[in-house]
Symmetry: C2
Subunit: 340 residues, 2 copies
Amino acid sequence: MGKRRPGTPTLEEVAAHAGVGRGTVSRVVNNEAGVKESTRRVVQQAIAELGYVPNLAARSLAGRRADAVALVMTEPDWRMFAEPFFSEIVTSLGDALTDTGMQLLLTLVRSDPERRRFLEYARGGRVDGVLLMSVHADDPLPDMLAEARLPTVLLGRRSADEHVSYVDADNVGGARSAVAHLLESGRRTIATITGPLDMYVAQCRLRGYREALAQAGLEALPSWVAEGDFTEESGRRAMERLIERHPEIDGVLAASDTTAAGALQALRAAGRRVPEDVAVIGFDDFPLAERTQPRLTTVRQPLEEIGRAMVRLLLEEVEESSVAWRHVILRTELVVRDSA
Amino acid sequence: MGKRRPGTPTLEEVAAHAGVGRGTVSRVVNNEAGVKESTRRVVQQAIAELGYVPNLAARSLAGRRADAVALVMTEPDWRMFAEPFFSEIVTSLGDALTDTGMQLLLTLVRSDPERRRFLEYARGGRVDGVLLMSVHADDPLPDMLAEARLPTVLLGRRSADEHVSYVDADNVGGARSAVAHLLESGRRTIATITGPLDMYVAQCRLRGYREALAQAGLEALPSWVAEGDFTEESGRRAMERLIERHPEIDGVLAASDTTAAGALQALRAAGRRVPEDVAVIGFDDFPLAERTQPRLTTVRQPLEEIGRAMVRLLLEEVEESSVAWRHVILRTELVVRDSA
DNA sequence: CTGAAAGCGCTAACAA
DNA sequence: TTGTTAGCGCTTTCAG
């Protein structure tokens, strides 16, 4: 059609109104240097009077960027939508993008049609880059985006040799220092409740756990390890199994603080005092743990930095339209809150 | 610049490759009728071979729609991000949009710069319409969007004479029937924990509560009313206050089931049996209440229908670029689950 | 410092 | 049924 929404003046009309050329108006709108101050003011006047708003489609088409990035939430993410971790990450991404002028667009990809539609959207040039949350090993989206040469940054990696840019926390180191802390306080029978072991993040945390024990000359018995899935329920059940197998357990590393909360319930139900009898450390996905479990020592992940780093990496890729993959691994921090 | 992302063929190149005109390719891409089957196949072949993807900016510019709608979450919403209500609504909107070919874009508007950016984005023509969640009375966004003549649909209204299209549940009726139910089962001291009273939805539910009591010849004491903000924490605290003021309370209407859950905790902590001593009814924002609080009677809101209705209204506005406001008010249903 | 002009890739009206 | 053409509104050289 080419039907303009009525009441939407074009750059050209602004130019006419201000008595200047289109180029000049464009420069003013985009805050470019090299416009005489008086001219600039006249143009701004005209813009205000006409209520001019740039047409973003035209701007994109003329070659500039879309000025938007998408955060894709795939089906597995979606189940965790209600977790604080989620909103923390989104908040931090929003903050990180605040002064870049880019719109953050959250999109759901829960089914195959939705994946197709999103790909069309992204490849159609409506976003400059894509952020992906907690990708599972078998998620085809990262590779599809890479193939389409769209700047992409993952939160976490799918395997040791991830070939798409990513930001991750130092899960091995975090787990190691947590277990080291437990050892220092005299614990000797330290179990762990892992995340789903088909996720790289869970594998890493398990590795850190084993390394710390090995370093102390202790061998991690297979029966000290119980697999969970990050949920509270799984933490509860795993802890019950562990207590049954090893009543002497005096320390636990949990895959997340949600899992840790489940473990605590099971421990208390079994009559254990925490942290006196058994010390529990969880990976702290969000700074709220302080309030919900004030005495729980946690491995804190720097969520804000994660968001910032993801945005930085993405913008670098966008800027340079580069093909180089890059990654950032952020340090975790052991926050000691119990004294036992 | 006009720098094309390398490896992104244009419609024109497809046309050349297929040996047809650009118009024909356009028709094929948009699945329009009036193309000979053989020609269509040749073009599709070419599209596949070249890996052609339409440039959405160009398509938008040439007059067609953006094929995307935004769901805006403002700051107050954001606190409720983790609430199941939220993900239920988003899910239902996503479902409702599934076969319309429109992308659903969730956007955060937490600050003034973000509001400005979003407005620029929306007015810039990158979305065809805007959906707004739980708008507060003083939210300027709906009017700004209306002024920009952007199709907009609110979930809930800001006041009795909302002048922007909206979809709402029958909150007055829902509250009334809930309280009537409590009265029928012999309760006489019925308190309520409201939502934020600057939200019309909370006012309506409070009104329904009062009307039901009045109809039974009871007067709602002001001290029977405690304001909350839909969160569990606020429900807990409000309930504590209520118990202190009126130990004889035997019924409670909570603003949401999350609030109800908080109230339950406070009641149990105070040694009350539920529902034997005190019956609690919450507005059921999501069908999961059944599982989490199996014995809780609730006022159920038809979330799926809400999503469908919002999408329908929005698409109607988009289609007709109409100026007429429209609204839908959906019935609620009292789901009785406790026998006490 | 500013104006004019050439596209960006697509749709839609109009011819053929 | 198909090809051709004229924009959509903006950015960006390139002259002036």
